[in-house]
Subunit: 168 residues, 2 copies
């Protein structure tokens, strides 16, 4: 390799930003169409992905990378909309099981997954070798970005960050 045209890196970063932006905007619409907010939809999706459609707030908080108090608020809203219900654990009465309801499941399923469908559609129209290349590239980027020390950062730890200077 001779010269590294910095232009190429920049183009990559721009493409990444486009991807990011598209996803963000899309998520807003997605949730809007479902009648709920993105954060609430994420809760539903996680619950839907669980075997028995239930988890504890703690697990949700960890998976979403937020604090337990936040999850409590989200669950409150979802519960008010009858999309989840709370059930006190029998074995450990400190715990609460958050269970997705039928209504909640139907919301998750009926969401018009436009972006994902677009991606899947375009993806499946690609040649086999193109698909393989794309997957490889994406995984490479993912590996480049979400290295461990990011997850070790205070924000992600999600349970214990106290040394946080407060942005005004």
């Amino acid at each position: 390799m001779t010269e590294l045209p910095p232009i190429r890196v920049d183009e990559c970063l721009i493409a990444l930003r486009r991807i990011l932006r598209a996803t963000t905007l899309y998520e807003r619409n997605l949730a809007l169409a479902a009648g709920i907010t993105p954060a609430q939809l994420r809760v539903l999706q996680i619950l839907h992905g669980q075997r028995d459609g239930s988890t504890t707030p703690k697990v949700l908080a960890t998976q979403m990378g937020v604090v337990q108090a936040t999850v409590t608020a989200l669950i409150d809203k979802l519960e008010a909309g009858r999309m989840v219900s709370r059930q006190r654990s029998e074995t450990d009465r400190r715990q609460t099981h958050v269970v997705i309801t039928d209504k909640g499941r139907s919301v998750v399923k009926d969401v018009p997954d436009a972006l994902q469908q677009r991606f899947v559609g375009a993806f499946e129209r690609m040649q086999d070798w193109e698909q393989a290349q794309l997957l490889s590239s994406l995984e490479r980027v993912a590996a480049m970005l979400d290295a461990e020390d990011i997850d070790a950062s205070p924000v992600l730890a999600a349970g214990d960050f106290h040394a946080t200077p407060k942005p005004q």
Copy 2:
């Protein structure tokens, strides 16, 4: 190469989500380290990227995919922190030029751009053909996702979220 293993699409989507997640979490930390919030930092970064370090709220709103009123609020905070300043345009007095200050520039520069540096570093360690392939893949994905008809989608028309003030 005979069957289209749907598993491959899923892996792509998972990789995408990892990228998204890493970026989101990283942005929080980034802004936190700079003593400002992510949205505010984005404004500074856009301004910093401009040739003369200034733009109008309208442009900012469009670029960020939010409404003008939101930008006004962000500029208010940045201005209170002396990181940008407002200047009435001479040519068209309806317009306001948002100019980044020296302090604003130093904030942008001093931000530990860990994620981007990681990406750039890894990217530049790649072979030339790998770089080309990665760029191609990223741009392809970006094109797949941020097609214009996202906001033209009939179902989601509601809101028409960026820059288009609803004419009631």
